[in-house]
């Protein structure tokens, strides 16, 4: 558990950016080794996940994943499992070498999150549209128990085409769950193509607002902006939605903005190129997160 001591802001930002680059490298290495998986939505979420897990946002204890007072994070867009696993390994929930067992028979790292198998995974997701409801349940329990933990759910923007997301949004607002934050990874690309061509869920911010949520928009690749928004005090009695503007495949140039890399693993030369690019960024300290 990270102590609640004041931390120099620039140190924190630098540290989180560094972690985001490491997470991206893990994602490509894991998916490349597995030969299948979802790099695009993992890379678009990398800075969000890095800020949550390394920016003193989530209160979790790797040595005690079931700690009753922990903050709860639900990866509702379960196909981005690789970036969550990378963060959990980097936080010490399990050894880093486990990452390369992704999607293999007998691995604790399933293709989509399995709360029974993986320490630190809160909910078994992968069937889109359910994570926000699950988070609502945990937020209701927190209120009943008068606990101060917070519940977070990360949704895909394509996922917001699922009707259940709006059932959950309605319930969160009805029950005044101000201990709940929904983050939408707004990369504007889904499996079959751009959202506005496949099925537009827009305007997302207005929809959440209409459902009674406190809505904030943020650059989903800006570590300082994400950190500020995640740490900002909420409105009493209202759940918060953070619409994070992102780029699908962010950090690997040839993947950026392309639906083709939603659910396809890079192989051979492409894998080498992606890892070379991410290695250079780790060494130079450049890349997303600015």
């Amino acid at each position: 558990m990270i102590p609640d001591s004041p931390i120099d802001a620039s140190d924190l930002v630098a540290r989180v950016k560094e972690k985001a680059r490491v997470l991206r490298y893990h994602v490509i290495e894991m998916v490349g080794r597995a030969g299948s998986g979802h790099p695009g939505g993992s890379l678009s979420s990398a800075d969000i996940i890095a800020v949550l897990y390394f920016g003193d946002v989530l209160r979790v204890d790797p040595s005690n994943p079931a700690w009753p007072d922990r903050d709860r994070f639900v990866l509702s867009k379960g196909h981005a499992a690789p970036v969550l696993y990378a963060a959990l390994a980097e936080r010490g929930f399990f050894p880093e070498r486990t990452l390369l067992t992704l999607r293999q028979l007998g691995s604790i790292l399933q293709g989509h999150p399995d709360a029974k198998k993986t320490p630190g995974v809160e909910a078994s997701t992968g069937s889109l549209g359910q994570g926000l409801s699950f988070a609502v349940g945990m937020a209701l329990a927190g209120k009943l128990d008068k606990k101060d933990y917070r519940v977070w759910a990360l949704l895909g923007d394509g996922e917001c085409e699922e009707g259940q997301v709006w059932e959950a949004a309605m319930a969160a607002s009805h029950y005044k769950l101000d201990n709940l934050t929904a983050i939408v990874d707004h990369n504007r690309v889904q499996n079959d193509g751009p959202l506005d061509r496949v099925m537009s869920p827009e305007p997302l911010a207005d929809k959440f607002r209409a459902f009674g949520w406190d809505v904030m928009a943020v650059d989903g690749h800006s570590v300082p902006d994400l950190h500020r928004v995640f740490k900002a005090p909420g409105q009493p009695g209202r759940p918060r939605a953070v619409i994070a503007e992102t780029v699908k495949g962010k950090g690997v140039q040839f993947m950026e903005g392309l639906a083709a890399w939603h659910g396809k693993a890079p192989k051979g030369e492409e894998l080498d190129r992606a890892l070379r690019e991410l290695t250079l960024k780790m060494k130079s300290g450049e890349g997303p997160g600015w």
């Binding site: 029974k116 909910a123 359910q130 409801s133 988070a135 349940g137 209701l140």
Partner: protein, 327 residues
């Protein structure tokens, strides 16, 4: 006569006093499912989720993940059909401690018609790994099943009807998940299990039933015994886990079997019995149930008659299945 759902509502209040972790979710049907009794007693622990069954099931999963013991209730057709994926992915896959108590199951919903008559819910729940499926026969057994569900750690599906039903069990409190009870003749489950194999078998026909069909089987047995047929009737409220020990003992000690349920003959108790009996000790099995079709509007009693779910139908099934033993 009392409807089991009334007993469900009362049990929720009783158990709610004992266990502060019990919470209840409903989907705008609390007056019908009787969870309104709990809502009145413990308003802060009752969540009306509105007409949004998918959300109900996944929110229940989240509550369970945070240590609550959620009861999620709506009509059986919506609980299992509308929210099947939520039950599979969010509840069963992680083995979360959610109790789904669905009411208005089966044909006896009556006039509401086929849209509201769940005839496949037991099949849907039974195929989920780790899901306990209970179909109580009367009010006593309902009370015992609700209590057992709270003691059990993991997902449970309990199926209740709309109508008031007569008492059929001598000892409602004797219900155990995974153990069934012999109701006729007056012998214990253990005696049937321990009985040595006899030739010819001790009984002509074994009756395996759940829900409202337990009474139908008992009534049929009285008629058949008077005509010289030796019968044994068991209440298999615990459809999953199935009491295979008793089931196989009954298969060994009878010439043929009849299953009876207010459910499709596909995938329910009859299907479960055939899966076990066919593999372990094949005897002819006649499945009394709805014969792979949808229901329709009508009074409950008239529907049971029209769809072949009366004591008369059970008795006819017994006579029919005995003929197959001669082949």
């Amino acid at each position: 006569m009392v409807a089991p759902r009334e007993a469900y509502g009362e049990m929720l209040v009783e158990l709610g006093k004992e266990n502060p972790d019990i919470v209840v979710l409903d989907g705008d049907l609390s007056v019908s499912t009787k969870t309104d009794k709990f809502a009145k007693a413990f308003p802060e622990r009752f969540f009306n989720m509105g007409i949004a069954e998918a959300n109900i099931m996944t929110v229940a999963a989240g509550l369970a993940r945070s240590g609550k013991v959620p009861f999620a209730s709506t009509f059986a057709v919506f609980a299992t059909g509308r929210a099947y994926d939520q039950i599979r992915q969010s509840i069963a896959y992680t083995g979360l401690n959610v109790k789904i108590v669905a009411t208005h199951a089966g044909l006896t919903v009556g006039p509401d018609g086929a849209s509201h008559q769940a005839l496949e819910d037991v099949a849907l729940m039974r195929v989920l790994p780790g899901m306990v499926v209970v179909v109580p026969a009367d009010v006593q057994e309902t009370r015992a099943a609700i209590r057992a569900a709270v003691r059990y750690q993991g997902p449970v599906y309990i199926r209740l009807g709309r109508e008031a039903v007569p008492d059929v069990l001598r000892d409602g409190d004797g219900f155990e998940i995974g153990k069934s009870r012999v109701l006729w003749p007056a012998v214990t489950r253990e005696a049937v299990v321990a009985a040595p194999k006899a030739d010819p078998p001790r009984f002509d026909v074994s009756f395996i039933a759940c829900g409202v069909m337990v009474k139908a089987c008992l009534d049929a047995a009285v008629v058949l015994e008077a005509q010289g047929m030796k019968c044994v009737v068991a209440d298999f409220a615990s459809v999953k886990p199935l009491d295979e020990e008793l089931l196989l003992a009954m298969a060994r000690s009878s010439k043929a079997m009849v299953t009876a349920e207010e459910h499709s003959i596909v995938g329910g108790l009859g299907g479960a019995v055939c899966e076990v009996v066919a593999g372990e000790h094949p005897v002819p099995v006649y499945r009394v149930g709805v014969r792979d079709r949808f229901g329709e509007s009508g009074p409950a009693e008239a529907l049971l008659e029209a769809y072949g779910l009366t004591a008369k139908d059970v008795a006819a099934a017994a006579r029919e299945v005995l003929k197959r033993t001669d082949r």
